[in-house]
């Protein structure tokens, strides 16, 4: 199956039996409509944003010798077996699509991951007009990951409080970073 007819096509790959198609952020709507109309991906299962800040920065495991000798103070064994391949942008947003045909037999349905890449603050076109279910998924992505969706009818927080600061699932958001309110404090 060739996906280079998809508008804004960047690259595609197969891994673990799953297909990923990366498209240009600006042409996401066209790509979504093309996939829905031409390939029958009528069901949007999920929108999953990922933050790749600090990707691979844990370094490689083991005590590695270098010109100055061996640094026995660095806890090398906690790192990675090998460095992961670098990521072209800080965020990716994955749209998990499915061809939902009533009464389909095994092997007749397909799943596809459409992915876009974006940096902090860049707006992603909203796909609510293509798949209405995207409404809450995009609000969640905004709320927890801080991905802005252009054209979303009501992009407000959904899981956190309305006046919450920051986006908790970002990698630079600290664990336990919740301010504690004391009853006698102003």
């Amino acid at each position: 199956m060739s996906w280079d007819q998809v508008p804004g096509f960047v690259e595609d790959w197969e891994a673990f039996g799953e297909t990923t198609v990366v498209v240009e952020r600006e042409q996401l709507i066209e790509a979504a409509e093309h996939l829905k109309d031409e390939h029958g991906f009528n069901f949007l299962a999920d929108i999953s944003p990922t933050d790749y800040l600090g990707w691979g920065r844990t370094g490689v495991a083991g005590y590695w010798g270098h010109a100055a000798g061996r640094d026995i103070n660095s806890p090398g064994s906690w790192g990675l077996a090998r460095l992961p391949s670098p990521r072209p942008a800080r965020f990716t947003v994955s749209y998990h699509l499915l061809t939902l045909r009533p009464g389909a037999r095994p092997g007749e349905t397909r799943r596809l991951r459409v992915q876009i890449r974006c940096e902090d603050g860049e707006a992603v076109p909203s796909v609510v007009s293509v798949w209405p279910t995207a409404d809450w998924h995009e609000r969640e992505a905004w709320d927890l990951m801080g991905i802005r969706f252009a054209g979303h009818p009501e992009l407000t927080r959904i899981l956190m409080e309305d006046d919450w600061e920051g986006h908790p699932l970002r990698k630079d958001y600290p664990l336990g970073g919740e301010p504690v309110r004391f009853s006698n404090a102003e």
């Binding site: 673990f16 999953s48 391949s85 095994p106 899981l159 956190m160």
Partner: protein, 419 residues
């Protein structure tokens, strides 16, 4: 017995615009009518946890509705990024606390997909068996509470009696009644105890009779029929567009079940039917739940009959804890045990999305690994979260009393929704 005519499922779409999840009051009506805004929840007992609905009423008619979620947000996904994989397995079960076995399963399947780990058939079949028991458990709680909300209080006691029997079976297998953490990457945590099979078969033989009894109580109950038939309509087209899955989708006439269409575990080796009903109302969702319990019982019977012998966990010492007795005699096993417990196992770099048919629909897990011992990113596709998106569509012509019935029929778990 039924006096009023059952409203028919509509054609085309009723999804509100421009926001698909918010039903807005018509401006003309707002000017003319006497609109009352009511806050339903978040601590209303019929909201199944902490859901808030902001409802606008014109007399008894619901003319505007907006679901507000997030009161139970716990940050599971963030927490799981801080834990090694085998410690993180404890988390998903607590997300959807009624369908715990499926959440565990979907996460474990995602890890295994990245590890490309072969799971022994005994573990696969046992996962299927426990999953179906869990489906019965979840549906029983749904039936008991949904009927309770409409006044059939006796249903709760009957359903919880059988639910307790399911939990006893879980306790027998895993030592814990809920949140068993019985699934490991590679198989099961322990072998199946010998006493489990006769107990489980006794339950599976009993269950169909019990389901008949429930139906005998509800299906001849005029109040139940009046309050469920023709209520909370959603067409097949709208259900797909709004991402509905599970019983909600199947009650709208869409024959779709991941166990059939994209079989995982050993679902292609057991016989079962997918119940499909055409009317898309609360009553049909109830019928789907009842039939699914029967089908699950059938699968449980087949799992007991077809349970293969052999190991219950993969023999991969880099991922799987060594057998306990070896720790006293084998240095190698002791090292493996220590490394696995302290450091965890490394999962190859990559991203996968795995979906299973949980009790309430497509439960998905998107897992990203950087090659380290902790997940880089975990995202759950929560069926309850998606189901609540349909409230505005389903309530577009409801009365205030119907809201309870509609909300109940969606079978949402707020822990699952808010994660």
């Amino acid at each position: 017995m039924v006096v009023t005519e059952r409203r028919r499922i509509y054609e085309g779409t009723r999804i509100p615009s421009p926001i698909p999840t918010v039903l807005r009051v018509d401006e003309v009506l707002r000017e003319e009518g006497d609109i009352l805004e009511v806050n339903f929840g978040p601590n209303h007992p019929s909201t199944h946890g902490v859901l808030r609905l902001v409802v606008e009423l014109n007399g008894e008619e619901v003319v505007g509705v907006r679901a507000v979620v997030g009161y139970l947000h716990t940050g599971f996904e963030k927490n799981m990024e801080q834990k090694t994989y085998w410690k993180a397995i404890t988390y998903p079960a607590r997300i959807d606390y009624l369908s715990f076995q499926y959440n565990e399963l979907v996460f474990v399947l995602a890890i295994e997909k990245l590890l490309e780990l072969e799971v022994p058939p005994k573990a696969t079949w046992m996962r299927m068996l426990l999953g179906e028991l869990n489906r019965i458990h979840s549906h029983l709680i749904w039936l008991g509470t949904a009927a309770l909300e409409l006044g059939a209080i006796s249903m709760l006691w009957y359903c919880f009696r059988e639910r307790d029997a399911v939990l006893d079976l879980f306790e027998l297998v895993a030592g814990a009644r809920m949140h068993t953490r019985y699934f490991q990457a590679g198989g099961l945590a322990e072998d199946i105890p010998r006493g489990f099979y006769p107990e489980c078969r006794r339950f599976a033989d009993l269950m169909p009779k019990r389901i008949d009894e429930y139906e005998a109580i509800l299906d001849r109950q005029a109040i139940w029929l009046e309050r469920t038939k023709g209520i909370g309509l959603i067409s097949a087209e709208d259900a797909i567009a709004l991402g509905q899955s599970g019983p909600v989708l199947r009650a709208s006439g869409v024959e779709w079940d991941l166990r059939k269409t994209q079989p995982y575990l050993a679902y292609d080796q057991v016989e079962f039917d997918v119940p499909v009903y055409q009317n898309g109302d609360v009553y049909d969702r109830y019928k789907v739940h009842m039939d699914e319990m029967r089908e699950s019982t059938r699968i449980v019977q087949q799992c007991i009959d077809g349970m293969p012998d052999g190991p219950w966990i993969a023999d991969d010492r880099k991922v799987v804890l060594p057998p306990r007795h070896e720790l006293h005699t084998s240095m190698e096993s002791l090292i493996h045990h220590f490394k696995l417990v302290t450091e965890g196992y490394r999962v190859p770099e990559g991203e996968v999305y795995v979906a299973v048919e949980s009790a309430r629909g497509e439960m998905g897990c998107y897992l990203v690994s950087d090659g380290g011992p902790k997940p880089w990113r975990v995202k759950f596709r929560a069926p309850s979260f998606v189901a609540l998106e349909a409230t505005a569509t389903m309530m577009s012509d409801a009365l205030v009393a119907d809201m309870i019935a509609i909300l109940g029929s969606l079978d949402t778990v707020m822990g699952d929704c808010d994660r």
